[in-house]
Structures are given as structure tokens and as C-alpha cells.
Symmetry: C2
Subunit: 347 residues, 2 copies
């Protein structure tokens, strides 16, 4: 990693089409910007992986992928690289898997600053280490100026679901308790403010964080943990609608219990947005039987990402709508899935 002492073979400080051509320039870019930081073990294109947990009878492999196109690529609390690592780690974690390995594929616009790529890659390496995963394989493509927007990243993740663990929305039963791990809407509100189209300057940060350690703690404390879902695009509302439909139950939310920052609430009021639909990148909702709710809260609060864990509602017998919210004033309203789109390129 002592890169300062080695003369760089990257002439210039911007990516050119030659960096995508499959030849020497591409190799130099990959070596100096990516593999020196990610340090994959294999010199081959494919990673070759072994893990004892895989050889336990009944263990399953979890496999997931997401593309990240967020704009701006750097924002308060994170950047597209951190998002790409956390998002895919979280997708594995909420499925009950121990996240182990990631791939990272970059589509880079001609002219992209190499210094920006280096910052993104450093951020990915940092997040991966914190989350206990390794970035083991990758790819780079370069497209002409104007054919993509700075850089898009696709991460895929592989993990192991231990034998006997089976989380899934279909397991949710009436009476189960819904818990979120912390404040909602910070990511969506931060990106909105960071775009600068609005004269908003809220002191906000994206909640972008990995949830692997949190999920491991809950899964251990709650043998009957039903299901978890990260509340990304479409926000808590869309995640709950999908879970309720898959389970054949309805969900009742308690508006007063929803953890929202005053800044986010304020921004939503000014702009006519509903915080239930704002994207999160470090928030999840999970369901446990009522008997395990206290254990779940305690386990969640024992890790950084779950300090503010709180019960926000419960599953009930299937009613006329999948998700309904009880307001502070005693009324109820329907919480539908997001219709249309709230904010493009939020992740």
C-alpha cells in the first residue's frame, strides 16, 4: 500500500478511453487504483473462495447484486463507493446471511478524475473492512464522455446462511412486532439537500452504514426472528407493503413512534414529502414474535447501528389495506406503496 514511493504509470489525472481498452493502460489503472487497495488474493480474473461455513450440511449460499448510480457521487456521510459496499452487505444481512465476499464493477465516464476514483475506492476498502467482507473480484469499463454520469458501480455479494436459519417475509404472523434500528429518511433528505437545487442547508448526513453486525446480534438473540428488510428506495412504506403482501398480513404503524429527526421532518413539511417514502441506506425493519421483542431491542441496541432501535408497529390479521398508520391524534391513514418516483438516482 506504499503507493507514494512508486512512480505512477498513469499519465495524466483523468480517465481516458484507453483505460478501458483491455491493454496496458487498463492494466495500469486497475493495478494502481483498484487492486493495490482491494488486494485480491488471486491473480486470475475470477476469485476462488473457500469457507468452512459452506461445508456445513444445510448451509446455503446467499447471492445478491445492486447497481449504484447516486448523484452526487460524494455527499455528506458517504459516497457512491460506501453506498455500494453497505447496500450489498445489507442485502445479504437482512436475508440472514453472514456477508463474506463482494465483487465491484465500475462503469467510468471518460474524463473522470482519477483522484475521485481513488477516494471512492479507499472508501469502499474502509467500509468493507469494517463490515468484515472482502472485495475479491471486479471489472472496469470506460465509456465516452456523455455516455454515463461520472461513475456507476455495481456490487454483488456472496455470503453464507447458516444451517437452520430461514428469514422471510412469509413467516410474519399477526401479533409480531415491527422494529426499526434508528432514524428514518436521513439518506434521502441528505441527497436532496446535496443536489443543491433547493435552497436547503440542513446539517444532515446520510445514514449509509453496514448492518451485518446488527443482524448477527439480533439473529443470535432471537431464534424466532421472522424477517428483515432494509428500507432503501421507496422507504419504510414500500418495504412494509412488500412484507405485508408476502406474509398475507396487515401492518399497523404508530406514527408517534417513528424515529425522525426534526430537520428531516421540517424538510418534508416544506417540500410536501412523506418521510415514510424517503430512502434509507442504513435502516432496516424487522419482525419478531412479541415474546422476543425485548431481546431483539436489547441486541440491537448493543451495536452501534442499532442504538436507537424502537418498536414502530405490529402485524395484524390481514385487513383491507396492507399498511395503515395510527396518527398521534387517533386517526388512521393508508400507507400505500410509493407511486411514481420521489427522487431519481437516490442510490
Amino acid at each position: 500500500m506504499n503507493m507514494a514511493s512508486k512512480p505512477s504509470r498513469l499519465r495524466g489525472d483523468r480517465v481516458t478511453l484507453a483505460h478501458g481498452g483491455g491493454g496496458r493502460a487498463m492494466r495500469d489503472l486497475i493495478e494502481e487504483v483498484f487492486t493495490q487497495v482491494f488486494q485480491p488474493e488471486s491473480g486470475e480474473d475470477q476469485a476462488r473462495l473457500m469457507h468452512d461455513a459452506l461445508q456445513v450440511k444445510g448451509a446455503r449460499l446467499a447471492f445478491t447484486t445492486d447497481s449504484y448510480v447516486v448523484t452526487p457521487v460524494e455527499f455528506p456521510g458517504g459516497d457512491i463507493g460506501k453506498l455500494a459496499v453497505c447496500g450489498t452487505v445489507n442485502d445479504l444481512a437482512v436475508g440472514g446471511a453472514e456477508p463474506l465476499w463482494l465483487s465491484a464493477s465500475f462503469i467510468i465516464e471518460e474524463g473522470c478524475e482519477i483522484a475521485l476514483l481513488r477516494r471512492i475506492v479507499a472508501s469502499m476498502a474502509r467500509e468493507a473492512e469494517a463490515a468484515g467482507v472482502r472485495i475479491v473480484t471486479g471489472d472496469t469499463k470506460v465509456v465516452e464522455k456523455g455516455s454515463c454520469d461520472t461513475v456507476f458501480i455495481t456490487t454483488s455479494g456472496v455470503g453464507v446462511i447458516p444451517a437452520g436459519r430461514d428469514l422471510g417475509a412469509a413467516h410474519i404472523r399477526p401479533g409480531d412486532v415491527a422494529i426499526v434500528n434508528g432514524v428514518l429518511g436521513d439518506h434521502g433528505a441528505t441527497i436532496l439537500a446535496a443536489r443543491g437545487d433547493l435552497a436547503l442547508s440542513a446539517p444532515l448526513q446520510s445514514d449509509c452504514q453496514a448492518l451485518g453486525h446488527l443482524m448477527a446480534a439480533v439473529a443470535e438473540a432471537c431464534p424466532d426472528l421472522r424477517a428483515a428488510r432494509d428500507a432503501t428506495r421507496g422507504g419504510l412504506a414500500s418495504a412494509l407493503n412488500e412484507m405485508a403482501e408476502a406474509a398475507g398480513v396487515s401492518v399497523e404503524l404508530d406514527e408517534a413512534a417513528l424515529p425522525l429527526r426534526p430537520e428531516v421532518k421540517g424538510m418534508c413539511e416544506i417540500l410536501g414529502l412523506d418521510p415514510l417514502y424517503l430512502a434509507n441506506e442504513g435502516a432496516l425493519v424487522l419482525f419478531v414474535p412479541e415474546a422476543e421483542a425485548e431481546a431483539a431491542l436489547a441486541a440491537m441496541r448493543s451495536v452501534e447501528a442499532g442504538r436507537e432501535a424502537v418498536v414502530v408497529g405490529r402485524a395484524v390479521e390481514k385487513g383491507s389495506v396492507p399498511v395503515r398508520m395510527r396518527s398521534a391524534f387517533g386517526g388512521t391513514r393508508i400507507v400505500d406503496m410509493l407511486v411514481g418516483e420521489q427522487l431519481p438516482r437516490i442510490c
Copy 2:
């Protein structure tokens, strides 16, 4: 798959930003265009996979990823979807793995025709079936018009390397024989012609094909198979340079033995291109000990993708340059890695 009988919930025939928003429109797009065709088993975001081969002691997991940004997205002999499946299958196969599962992530430009997406998805499903792999998980993002070019696809692949199989360029020894599976340069030449910038109308087709069955046949026939590499971006020249450097050997090519179509040769002569650098999407080069060369050729010729397999050179003691070519007239020339770029967005 009886889609005709169900009324489509996709209003309009083009992708809109709402299709990327995380709400109902996105769900409709994913269900109608993607999951109805790919039919993943799980209703969860992550695929959950089990395979007996993984539980054999010594078996390893192979994991790889590639982004595809080819333009045009449809071309003679294939399309970006076929490419995305074959390319990732091939990357697993040349590493000695049995390709099993793919993820597919789509970055779609606002305004992209839904009919085009359906053709691409159908093509992916067809190739996956032929290659014996399943597309088990995926993602879609939509970006504003002008922020990407029609559609980019990132596929990741997971397979199993059987216990005891260990292919790698480092295993190549002086005396080993280099074999390619068929004609070279068709993909690069086809894309070049398809762009229409040149007044060329060669009757060419991309060689885009999956090489999993081919690799399985060779690996079974040749217990001492050293290494294989698909000759994609940068062509055969770049693949051989990388392998020679990793092995600490030099490679001597025999120009007269290189399988090239007259049309590709002709196009290269007119345009001043070197076919050794043209991209392939269904061509590989592999090294076997001389004693196994006949067995390798016979095994390769027994499958469709290897009908025209031929010895093109051999590894020799490390000399002053990694790759050298002996011409039909007795001279030799250096075959360097590609410097600069030959053709952007070839894959």
C-alpha cells in the same frame, strides 16, 4: 410465461424514471419484464442457493463480475444480454469452475424501449439455459435521459471449482502447447462493422458464445490442463501477454496457424488493425502439456464451440519479450500487449 393473457400494468412502451423509484411502477417493470422470464425461486431480494458440489471437501467457489456497455446493444450474432451471460459464464469456465448462478443488474436510460428490454431479457434467458446456468437475482436502476447510453448490464457469476482442479497461468511450463478453440476477431470486426461509421458490410457475426461445456470437456480429457483464458478485450495478444508474464515463460505463436476468416483479415488490412488485438466473445486460449495436446484437441472438437480448435503456438523458456510471432515467411515479430485502445465499448 403466458404473458399475453395478462393485461400489462406497464403504461406506455418506454421506461420512465418512475420505473426506478422503488415503488409500484418499479415492481411492475421488474415483474413483467424480468422475473416472469428469469423466474427466480425466491421472493426475497437475495438468492438462496444450495448445491451438493459445494459440500465436497476441497471444492472452491468461483466468483466473478463484468459490466457490459457494448454499442450497438444489438448486433449480428448477439446483443448486450447474450454478451452479459456468455462473458460471465466464460470467465467462470476458464477458471475451471462449473458455472451455476448469475446475477444481472440493469442500468436503464429513461426512454429506453420496453420492447428492447424484453428482447434482451429473452436473449439472456435463452443463453443461460443453453449454458446450464440460472439467473437468480438482479437489480434495476433508471437514470435520466442522457445519463447513460440505452442500457448497461452487469452480470456476476458464481460456480464451483471441483476439489483438485487448479487452473492458473502460473502453471504454464516451457514446452506446453497453446490451443485456441476457433476463429479469432469475429466479435471485434462485427461490432466495428455494425457501428456503421465505416462503409463496410462484411457478412460477419459475433462469435459470442458460452464456453462452459467446452471447458468441461477439456478439463475431463486433460488432467494436466494448465490454464485457460478467454481472449476478450485486447484480443489474443493481450491474453497471451498476461499469461506469459504470470507464468514466467515466453510464448511463440505461429502466424500461419492462426484461424482467421478472410473477411476479418481483409477488414484488418483495410483499416490497419491487427486481428490479434480484436476482441472475441467466444474464443479462448488454453495451455496443455504437449503429451495432452491431442486429447485436448479431440475433446474440444467434440463440442460445438470447439469444432475448429487448433494449436497456435507454444510456451518456451522466458526470453526477451513475453510473446513473439513467427511469420509465414520465417521472420518473427514482437506481439506486445495492446497499447492505447482499439475500439471503445466493444463489450
